[in-house]
Symmetry: D2
Subunit: 278 residues, 4 copies
């Protein structure tokens, strides 16, 4: 196997990524079940602070929200940029919860790393090697989403780029692959989650929102992910999904998320993992 730093070895322990929070420290990996939630995009200061507070009450561990949004069409809303980053930082201040946001452009990385606790590399950039090397030189943990038609080996080699550049805080995130099936947005590859846990020491999350594209399927796929051994979930939540500027159809309400979080807590426990509310 051509990946070395990402590979599991007998003499190394599974990686644990530690993130400071207002309350202490969050450990991703190591038997924990990390719950990340938030809207697809930071749409406005008011809206984001509102959802951040609602999510804080559900026990979520980490907030997500896009400031730079990769959009298929140049005419779609593409995020608030630096203003969005500042709103994320304010939400962190208020809630004590760490935040994660996506970086698209290597020239934005300093800003992203300054305002956000973790940096996300999205599916479309999984093989943007320029960006991988750049986040490999920053000091923030990186969530690396699987490309929508990337093999497991290519995904681990993308992680290898980051590790090889010096950043050993890599978290993988399966978000569904593209297949012929059209009734779901993507096809979640649950076998990949289990296989990664065999092949690599890196933590693996699952994003059931992008994997399915349908609100009603988020909870069953989230449960499946934890049952298969995922180290956590990344879930889109919006206080008014029908008004969301992007991904509304796959967003849970905060109430829906709270129900799911309780459910996942019980399941994680059975799987030998623990969901500790913030």
């Amino acid at each position: 196997m051509p990946f070395i730093l990402a590979a599991k070895h007998d003499d190394i322990q599974d990686s644990v990524i530690r993130v400071k929070t207002g309350q202490g420290e969050l450990a991703i990996g190591e038997g924990s079940c990390t719950m990340i939630a938030g809207p697809c995009a930071v749409e406005s200061r008011e809206a984001y602070l509102e959802i951040a507070l609602l999510l804080m009450e559900t026990g979520v561990n980490l907030l997500r929200g896009g400031a730079f949004k990769p959009r298929t069409s140049p005419y779609s809303f593409s995020g608030l940029g630096l203003e969005g980053l500042k709103i994320l930082a304010e939400a962190r201040e208020i809630t004590g919860l760490p935040v994660v946001t996506e970086v698209l452009d290597p020239r934005d990385l300093d800003n992203v790393a300054c305002y956000s606790d973790l940096v996300q590399v999205g599916s479309r950039n999984m093989q943007n090697f320029t960006l991988l090397k750049e986040v490999g030189r920053c000091s923030r943990p990186v969530i690396l989403k699987r490309g929508l038609a990337s093999t497991i080996e290519e995904w681990l080699l993308a992680a290898e780029y980051i590790l090889n550049a010096g950043n050993d805080q890599v978290i993988l995130c399966e978000r569904g692959i593209r297949t012929f099936e059209q009734m779901t947005r993507n096809t979640i590859d649950i076998g990949a989650v289990a296989l990664i846990k065999e092949l690599s020491h890196l933590p693996v999350l699952v994003d059931p929102s992008h994997a399915t594209g349908r609100r009603s399927l988020v909870a069953p796929v989230a449960r499946a992910a934890i049952a298969a051994g995922a180290d956590g979930l990344m879930i889109e939540v919006h206080q008014r999904p029908d008004e969301a500027l992007s991904d509304g159809a796959q967003s849970l309400t905060p109430q829906g998320f709270a129900v799911l979080a309780r459910d996942i807590g019980r399941l994680a426990c059975l799987s030998g993992k623990e969901f500790t509310a913030n």
Copy 2:
């Protein structure tokens, strides 16, 4: 949606398929978690009776075993045919467990239905409409596997063929779809399981053995299936996987299966389902 008989309606209950056993009755669907296990093929009388007895002790609900095997190459072992059916019937006699086997040829259906309690239509025959209409006229419950590149809609329409021909005892079985990923044999579509439970009243099983092709992934994918709402599992088990004439690499040992069955029992319980050992 163009499927009618397979569709969920407000005024009908989810289907439950009832099968007589030596001990009474097995209900598939209706909150139960059905465990089906056995080798890919019936290889010999001795071998099959041995594994059947070992499986009976694990609490399995239903035995599987192929007498007619669809094989990619004409030079591969293709099953014992009628002799295999008789061995299945003998195993049923001895263990009291119902058996299921695949039918390939409409001209074999009378024999298959005579010796076996349920009839399976395999992936490669999901759109063999001749065969679908034929099993639609028989009195046995039918397990209909999803074609390896069939959409969910095509799968439900294949079920519709059987229902429309008069047989309302249809059980679906997701066994993985074909994608670009080569580290697993197929890609299990967990979202499809959850979506079928929304769209249809028919029970859905999952076959994690064919879905993954790797022994080590069978248990995590099996757990994921139950967590996502599947009504049961179909798992390949062989007493000496390394000597199996087919599918050895994905077969559990009886011991491995027993561990999985206990695990699934606990998980099913959490999912509001029940695994009742035979």
Copy 3:
């Protein structure tokens, strides 16, 4: 490679399939470019005889038309059955052109082989091994379409089933594979056509109608097929595409087909092949 009878060897010549016609003999393979055309289904005696005569004038070599139609839904028109076969035989009588039609059920094979000059095994039945063995025992040439998610190796092994059962008159037909792309019905695999010509001695046709599902793309894909080395084309033509009971959107008119046939004639010539009008 596990296929033997289908494989190219230094000491054997490429296969040529010879079919009697009213005018003499048609050779498929051996530098010829065979044009097969006709409607998806035989819809009525009048309609079929009308299109057959129109096609005869375009120089087509072989007529197609479905009497037994595999349909995704049990509620769709599925062909006229035996009556359709008789209409095909009448068209042959009148035009002197040989005819090909699909067989779905092994129990219909005697009739199909009696009324038709060639027998077709469709995509959905490429791995219906029962049917493959059965057509392997009949005396008619067999057109074997590639399964919509079958690998090249599986396709050649399906041909091997027929060859191994004793029928050495096998013609392959690429008709597109299923991918994520939704603007075309399927994705034609032109590389597969070229690769088959390297790996096997069997003739290969291309069906650009099913491959694209769009009338406007039939001609360019047909040209591409011949340029890549295909031994002929199978094309859906209907005198009134908008009224077709199936596949109207991908059917050419007889006029459109006549233009294409002339075009292909010139291109075949450049590719060292010859299109000899009937």
Copy 4:
């Protein structure tokens, strides 16, 4: 359809991209058949100048060669960078042929645009929107390769990003999509070429080297591309393919390329296009 600037309209002509050469001007589109060739990577000054001169003699219109190579593994040769750009410029000086090379990092764009006549955005970056907007602001024509799992619509929307940013010199390049088939590196989507010619005014090239990954399939797929209406070809050629640092298995020799170029010349003529040697 959500793409506007990339869409065909009755009142606009098909785009023609004009590039200065040592001999005058090269027009891409407008009935011409453009032949681009060169090694995957610029490996050394000597090697590149050697192949450039050999290719000049074959009549090639444009030279390719990677200075910045996207590689799946961080341990693979990733190009000579700026030094590679200077070698390309020297080859242009000597041969009078324009050159194209890939840009990966927006920060390298000024250099790439300075030393190269056209800029390529590779498959992995088709949805690197940062890069698309950046090349949209530069004055060089852009060859935009299709992402390996991108739909035709997504591809045209990626072109729309470049057009919308102000650069109207966009050339599309189909290079194969990822499917389940493993005997070829990718599956060329010939139907997409024909469909793009219907939907858009932009020229479309085909890269049969990446599309197949096998030297023997390059010529038949190249012919198919031209027969389907492509405006040109981009082909990997190496003087010693077995020693190539990347993509040797799919590289033609200069002799093989010369034979193909003559062949394509005749075929282009039949398709109403013209291949004018440099």
